[in-house]
Amino acid sequence: MTRPRLRLVGGVCAGFAEHTGVPLSTVRLVTVLLSFCGGFGALLYAWLWVTIPSADNRAAADPLPKSSLARPSVRSSGASREATAPFYPSSPETDRAARPVDAEVIGSASGASAIPRADADPARAAPVTEILLGLALLAAGGALVASRLGADIPLAVVVPAIVVLAGTALAWRQFADIRSGASQQSSALLVRILGALVLVAVGILLFFVTGTNPNAWTVILAAASVLLGVVVVTAPWLLRLSSDLADERAARARDAERADIAAHLHDSVLQTLALIQQKAGPHSDVARLARAQERELREWLFTGTRGGGESATDLATALRLIAGEIEEDSAVRFEVVTVGAAVGVRSAASPEANPSGMDAPEALVAAAREAMLNAARHAGGAVSVYLETGARGIELSVTDRGPGFQLDQIPQDRLGVRESILGRMRRAGGNAAVRPGPGGTGTEIWLTVPAGRSVPSTLPAPTSTALLKNLATETQHSEKSTR
């Protein structure tokens, strides 16, 4: 049973109606009627309000479910005023009867009610809910007692009742603090909870001691009542504790199941995928599919154990992602090897610097992507991507075993290599070079960003004429530098 988000007062009636299937209006009517029976309905409502968890806590699996007694936000301070409404207008005579008690309560129980106010941090919102709820409980308790004993209010009964209610409210509030993880000293909290419990016990005992002439049965009854009182006071906390425990157990079961699946996949599916790749040869579609599947599976397994996706803010991760993307579309197999400290990618969106003090400009990633695409398009097969980050800066090489190409043989109007790789790197303060691969076969594209160079991460995009001019000079530069 939960209290829905959409609620008139506390959501108790709605939750009860939903849980039992009884029409909501009937439940509300019964509650109001019960409130006339000596305030029983109102007390029951308050009790359920405190003990039943809110629906959004369950649904969203909030790690720290705010208890209904938790201190109110700005929004709920209005709601709390409304929340206390049923205690007052429910019956005019209760209201009238309650008023003198109310005044008395504030006078006599000021010692008790001072405690919650004292520990309320001034920086936080005023604990309106707690104070009002406390007063409402006291008023209702007073009214209940008063209506039962007639108009005159015997202090011998009212005072213990007030003490009991104040203690109960106090205790609940403390438990709410514990649950909401309020940063308070646990010893102080414990003392206050114990104080509240003692208050409840004393209040119950007072009933019997000040009541009729004591005998053995009164004492036994008093003891039982004290125990019952303590149980009532601690029940919300115990309930929450057990529901938390169940939630945690479920989460752990999920984790264990996930680990089992991961182990199984690692043992069987990954092996099979490796075998398929081995059998099918690196250029076939089957191998490409198997590789893509393997990568996806690995990603899933590892992001699962690492506890969530670290996005491609890490240069090595970004390269692997690009490699995966390209592999999906063309017959190519990237071997990405990264060496050295992890380096972040400085993007225009997040200009804050990496704590390690070295960031790769976004242009490097874009240029690397272009180089890898080029290798996939013109060479295919196995392509090595090597990233080294060290004292010399960032070095990135893309090596393929294809037919190779000479920069000066590319027509002037082809912008792929010149603009996307060479020009881009130059503008980002780095360097790019194209040269024949190992043993004279294939192509090797070198991208370097020197260390300690303050690189402008974003440059205004050049207009088309400026770009052409830019390109002309850059081409000369880069062709010189590649020699």
């Binding site: 081995q278 590892f302 060496v339 980050t389 060290g390 090596t399 190992p438």
Partner: protein
Amino acid sequence: MTTTDPKHPGERARATPAPAEAVAQLSVLIVDDHSIFRSGLRAELDSDVNVLGEAATVDAAIRQVIELQPRVVLLDVHLPGGRGGGGAEVIREAAVHAPHTLFLALSVSDAADDVVSVIRAGARGYITKSSSGAEVSDAARRVADGDAVFSPRLAGFVLDAFGAVAGETAETTEELDRLSARETEVMRLIARGYSYKEVASTLFIAPKTVETHVSSVLRKLQLSSRHELTAWALERKLL
């Protein structure tokens, strides 16, 4: 099965000369717990590779290695049975009883701690399971010839673990905890996907010299007490 504690299994394996008959036909034992993979690999291997047998568990592998005395064991890193030590346990237990046998680690995972554990136990190389049959055959042949086989990823790991990128270089050849400048260069090229021959032509040295460098790196990897080796492996999940 006798439990022995070889002090430096890697050193022993390195010192072993190749017997004359093994050069002609390479005898191989496949150790993997997946029968599909075993049969697949067996069918894919080159014709001059003679597969003596297969084993699926640590205990069976140790027994078979001692019994069959293969020249090269293609050893999966993850194996059930034994005391849970996987491939590394097979090497530790069987190597003393099979003095001419060399181990080549095959792994699907690339996890650094797995790879380092088998290499440090005495494996002469490491390749991934997605390598083709020809690549595995070639690697096995090179291991049988006394070379070390490094995949680009293992080379990258070595560069990282020895702090070579940060500019640490060994002054003398006796130093175990750092790579020499030449070894660093060789490792860097291997990490970039160069074959030994390509490394040799790029650095203008003989292919045999490259092999010497790689073997010396392997020895350092096996014997070095650099704490980064283990720390790094634990810190990162992937090579």
